[in-house]
């Protein structure tokens, strides 16, 4: 990445215009950290990394505006210099994750159930639709209800509606103190404990279960973190050192992710669900997200997730291509609406064709 900021929106616009004219598919790509994610990759690469830099940041406003090709790592560093952060704790993928890809894939880290998701922190954006129009939706203020919320619609749309150019986020203060706790318990006991704590105003910022250990992260004012830690107890070493574990979880650096094994799935469920999932799992998000390693056929996993009140996403991290499987299938009426919306933004199917759904 170049050292200086660069506005490449005119080049991006030209490229989309050209592709549309030639009826050529484009595959939007930032740092390539999420090439593994989605149904399939089609078309010529439209590189966004040259479109980078922070265009506006006033810490007292709690708002930052940043070009889509900017790395999440660079953005987080700039925010940290003012003791602020992205509240949804997105994975940085070794510095390769960009702002655009993070929003487009809607990926959020361990803090998500307590602070909100990628889309929750999007205030507005500019984007280039498949019609090769550079448009602005939302704004740079925290409250804004003018017009349809087409900026939050882009979060999780996997680039199938528009190329993201510039995104404004609400940011949060970095917590003054963080602390990890651990408890040796069974999974059922862990989920029970989590359900109890979730009803109390505790400064939770992470809750995960794996290998017979329930791990808790507390973030906030020092006094609140200490009081909560005292009230919650814990039988393993709960010093500040444990906080590093959460970074490994966010970055998929834990052995559960790096050691390989059966295909990896992300199963999102109501937190109190007691699912019967076929395989080995690591539970995050206070019980609301199960990382699952399973040899079971996709249909079985989609069914199991649905029966437990949620959905599943194929997450073939480090496994090569996903082979056409990605999301729990959409009901017919919803799929039709997706197709119509796709047509409303990208009538010629230029952008990220087939990445989200087989139908578009």
């Amino acid at each position: 990445m170049a050292a200086t900021d660069h506005d490449a929106s005119a080049e991006l616009l030209r490229a989309v215009k050209q592709a549309r004219k030639e009826k050529r598919a484009l595959r939007i790509r930032g740092g390539g950290s999420k090439d593994f994610l989605g149904r399939e990759l089609n078309g010529d690469v439209l590189a966004t990394v040259s479109h980078h830099g922070i265009t506006a940041y006033d810490p007292a406003e709690l708002v930052v505006t940043v070009r889509a090709g900017t790395s999440v790592t660079a953005l987080s560093a700039a925010l940290a210099a003012h003791r602020q952060m992205l509240g949804f704790e997105p994975p940085e993928f070794g510095g390769r994750a960009t702002v655009g890809g993070t929003v487009a894939s809607g990926l959020s880290g361990p803090r998500r159930p307590y602070a909100g998701s990628a889309r929750d922190f999007v205030l507005g954006l500019t984007c280039i639709t498949g019609k090769a129009q550079l448009l602005r939706f939302g704004g740079q203020v925290i409250k804004n209800v003018a017009g349809y919320d087409l900026s939050r619609l882009m979060a999780g749309a996997m680039g199938t509606l528009a190329v993201l150019c510039e995104v404004s986020f609400k940011v949060l203060p970095l917590p003054a103190a963080e602390r990890g706790l651990a408890f040796s318990v069974t999974q059922d006991a862990a989920l029970q404990m989590l359900a109890g704590w979730a009803r109390k105003p505790l400064p939770l910022s992470g809750a995960a279960y794996h290998d017979s250990l329930l791990r808790i992260r507390l973030s906030g004012a020092r006094s609140a973190v200490d009081a909560a830690a005292a009230a919650m107890g814990g039988d393993a070493d709960g010093g500040d050192g444990d906080v590093a574990w959460w970074r490994q979880l966010r970055e998929f650096d834990l052995p559960f992710f790096t050691a390989g094994g059966a295909p990896l799935w992300r199963v999102s469920l109501p937190p109190a669900a007691r699912p019967r999932l076929p395989g080995d799992s690591l539970v995050d998000w206070g019980g609301a997200q199960h990382w699952l390693r399973s040899e079971a056929p996709a249909a079985n996993i989609f069914n199991a997730a649905q029966n437990a009140g949620g959905h599943a996403v194929r997450f073939p991290l480090g496994e090569g291509e996903s082979g056409g499987v990605y999301l729990s299938p959409l009901p017919a009426a919803l799929l039709r609406l997706h197709q119509k919306l796709k047509t409303a933004f990208d009538p010629d199917g230029v952008l990220n064709r087939g990445r989200l759904c087989a139908e578009f």
Binding site: D58, P59, A60, E61, L62, V63, R112, T129, Q133, L135, R136, G139, Q140, V141, I142, K143, N144, V145, A146, Y148, D149, L150, R152, L153, A155, G156, L161, P173, L174, A176, A195, A198, R199, K200, P201, L202, P203, A221, S223, A224, D226, A227, S268, P270, P271, A272, A288, Q289, G309, G310, H311, L327, S328, A333, L334, L337, K340, L341, A344, C357
Partner: protein, 486 residues
Amino acid sequence: MKNKKHRLLKKLRRILPAEAVLGDEEQLRPYECDALSAYRRLPMIAVLPDNVAQVRAVLQLCAREQVPVVARGAGTGLSGGALPRTDGVLLVMARFNRILAVDEHNRTATVQPGVTNLAVSEAVAHLGLFYAPDPSSQLACTIGGNVAENSGGVHCLKYGLTVHNIMEVKAVTMDGTALTLGGRALDAPGFDLAALITGSEGLLGVIVEVTVKLLPQPDTARVLLAAFDQVEKAGDGVAAVIGAGIIPAGLEMMDNPAIRATEEFAGAGYPVDAEAILLCEVDGMAEEVAAQMETVDALLRQAGAVHIRAARDEHERALFWSGRKGAFPAVGRISPDYYCIDGTIPRRELGRVLRHIKKLSAEFNLRVANVFHAGDGNLHPLILYDANVPGELERTEELAAAILQHCVEVGGTITGEHGVGVEKINQMCTQFNARELAQMHAVKSAFDPGGLLNPGKAVPTLARCAEFGAMHVHHGKVAFPELERF
């Protein structure tokens, strides 16, 4: 027209019980406006369904007959979003008033759209939980309307807007299709349609069920009142608190005219000679709250507060808030009529915007009192006027338009939480260009190709903007150079 109405009444009475179909003028009168009462229109027909099958059947019938439909909750909206159509059916959702389920383990409540906002928190209070968005009309306004408008409230900065506090929305589109948007698990697959329908002002679908997120009640909440001799210093105080990493649960500002009006009305103990006051509430665990109260006190003194008082107990806390929460009715007492504006600005522009409002107020010869959700930059100037003076409402609307125009110029928006409705439809042409509006219309068509659901609201036609643009110049450019003028 009369024949059409007669025919439609007959068909509707096949779908709904006779008492749920209203066609006489005296029956329709209560539905002629929402809380923006300057706009009034009688609907052709009003219907009061009480189940989803009826809603689907009414929509299918109206789609077939090409009759526009406007959905209405409690009618507390401030932008005319529920203003009926004289050629249309008003779909009154008031009978959808049941809380269907409270799931204490997953911390959600599933409610019908006609349940009031406050009723949700009351129903789950015994579990130590609450529903966070708290628009000032929360006693009366309904969840369906809250979703349609993406309602905010005093506690948005910390707890978010409606969009941040709902899990799943069931809606029926104009062709009668029932859809489930979002889900009970986080980050539902596909496009985020729950976010899209939130704040869509009843143009995309009729909301028939909502599952909201519940949060644990904070242990403690404390509030302090700080007085300033300059509005800018109060603005500095806000920036200092947020810059120090504190996210207050509520951070409200009022200027001198607003302070005087409310103090007379509520007797909350506000210093009437102050140029501005700040109310800052922090909540959470007792230990955290105590530490933050100290910090806030010190920061506001540094910013130049001439006087700071922390509420000593729950009673005084309620008293401090009574003034702020009674600000609108208080202004209503000192003026025959008032007009509330809902712009949002970057907070750093507060001083400049208030000076500009003062100048405009003198120019238009209309008094303005300002209340401000200072934490999130949402400004509510209240223009005092008398509707009985010929021309004064028109002058008020012109002043409001000029203020909103200025909000956009400083990087803000024309509406923070009240919605566009009919009221700010022209200002949408200031905030968005023709291509952006065309994209919004394309999204509308994906849901409602016939344009029958709440037509004429929220998103202006390009023709309307061309007319409006003839009078206004946006960012030094004529708004729609590509369109012919007429």
